[in-house]
């Protein structure tokens, strides 16, 4: 039986079913697990589309409070479609966030006490000293291309134009550099 399993052992759809089945008493453990899984995904989507930490955090709050409300009220009829549902909510809320802040404020006012707050522990934390050491260890071309790309999130086309090299060349350098940087930061390998 799913309701006896540790929520961490369930897949997303079963977790959604468990939350829906727990109504009206609720299942705080299952909801916390769902939040733990989905918050980083929603945050990433928010950072990608809003390019702002605070706006991404707001998105997490709004989308997850709406998702939990739907699950609790049994309105999410196909739990196996949870990922698509959450993505759809993200798209909708991002559009709304771009248009106006009023709905966000209203939702936060209405439900703010009813959902878990974004837990900073859930978000990966980068060791900046280590990142700097790894960055400094890269060949200069890779370091420069990564700095020029990610400081302002600029596409290969722009960086290529400024360096008077091909876009493909920038993509190759960028990919090689990022792979080395990631390995160095996560595994401690020399860049």
């Amino acid at each position: 039986m799913n309701d006896r399993l540790d929520p961490a052992q369930l897949d997303d759809a079963d977790l959604a079913r468990r939350i829906a089945a727990a109504n009206p008493a609720g299942d705080a453990t299952a909801e916390a697990e769902l939040y733990r899984r989905l918050a980083p995904r929603v945050r990433f989507y928010g950072l990608r589309h809003l390019r702002d930490e605070q706006a991404a955090a707001d998105l997490v709050q709004q989308v997850l409070m709406m998702t939990l409300e739907r699950l609790r009220s049994g309105k999410l009829r196909k739990p196996e479609m949870l990922a698509s549902f959450v993505l759809g909510m993200c798209r909708m809320v991002v559009l709304e966030l771009r248009r106006t802040h009023s709905r966000r404020e209203r939702l936060l006012h209405t439900f703010a006490d009813d959902v878990p707050m974004a837990d900073p522990q859930l978000m990966p934390r980068l060791d900046h000293e280590r990142l700097l050491r790894c960055l400094e260890g890269l060949p200069e071309r890779e370091k420069s291309v990564l700095v020029m790309t990610f400081y302002d999130d600029r596409a290969a086309r722009e960086v290529a134009r400024e360096l008077n090299v091909s876009e493909a060349n920038v993509r190759v350098i960028r990919h090689r550099g990022l792979q080395r940087l990631r390995d160095c930061v996560t595994e401690g390998t020399a860049p």
Binding site: H128, R141, Q179
Partner: protein, 190 residues
């Protein structure tokens, strides 16, 4: 439950997604996958964290790197205070760094047309080589190389003279393109 992804999104694709380089259909497909796959979502978050980390380090002036005009413009537009010194080929400049400066840029003027590979050499007060940065990126049409220095290092310097040298690598040999002298004075203590 976190299970291994049968068809992980490639790192290059995650980066293209992050930078908005994918077309609408490909972007949508990546998003569908990321929302349903914890493993790929974690990889995507790692890309975002690295990008954010680089932005933070650059914003604090902690990265020494060869950059471009577009980068410097972008930094200024983001609100960074940029101090820039232009140095003529074989010329010198009196320079410093203010407490509020975020980025310190040296613009080294140099004839770069026809040059394929350039090394940047850092020299100390006595003209002794401290560091040789091989094969720096540059635009041959720009007639200058822009170097962002680490602001924490420069702030710690006493009054002194140092040099940078640009060296063209040609076949088996090399040729000095230009030397640039920096007469540094620390910002007066308050």
């Amino acid at each position: 439950m976190t299970s291994a992804c049968a068809k992980p999104v490639a790192l290059a694709t995650l980066v293209e997604y992050w930078l908005g380089e994918l077309d609408e259909a490909a972007e949508g497909a990546v998003e569908e996958h990321l929302f349903g796959c914890g493993e790929c979502a974690a990889s995507a978050q790692a890309v975002a964290e690295l990008a954010g980390g680089i932005r933070t380090l650059v914003g604090k002036g902690l990265v020494q790197a060869v950059v471009t005009d577009g980068f410097v413009r972008g930094a200024a537009e983001r609100g960074l205070r940029v101090r820039e010194y232009t140095v003529a080929r074989n010329g010198s400049v009196n320079c410093t760094i203010a407490p509020e400066d975020d980025l310190l840029i040296a613009r080294l003027e140099a004839p770069l047309e026809g040059v394929e590979h350039v090394d940047l050499v850092m020299l100390d007060t006595h003209g002794k080589g401290l560091e040789r940065i091989r094969d720096i990126p540059f635009n041959p049409l720009s007639a200058s190389v822009l170097v962002a220095s680490r602001t924490d290092y420069v702030r710690a310097l006493s009054k002194q003279t140092s040099q940078m040298r640009l060296v063209a690598i040609e076949g088996q040999g090399e040729r000095v393109i230009g030397e640039y002298t920096f007469n540094h004075t620390p910002w007066p203590a308050q």
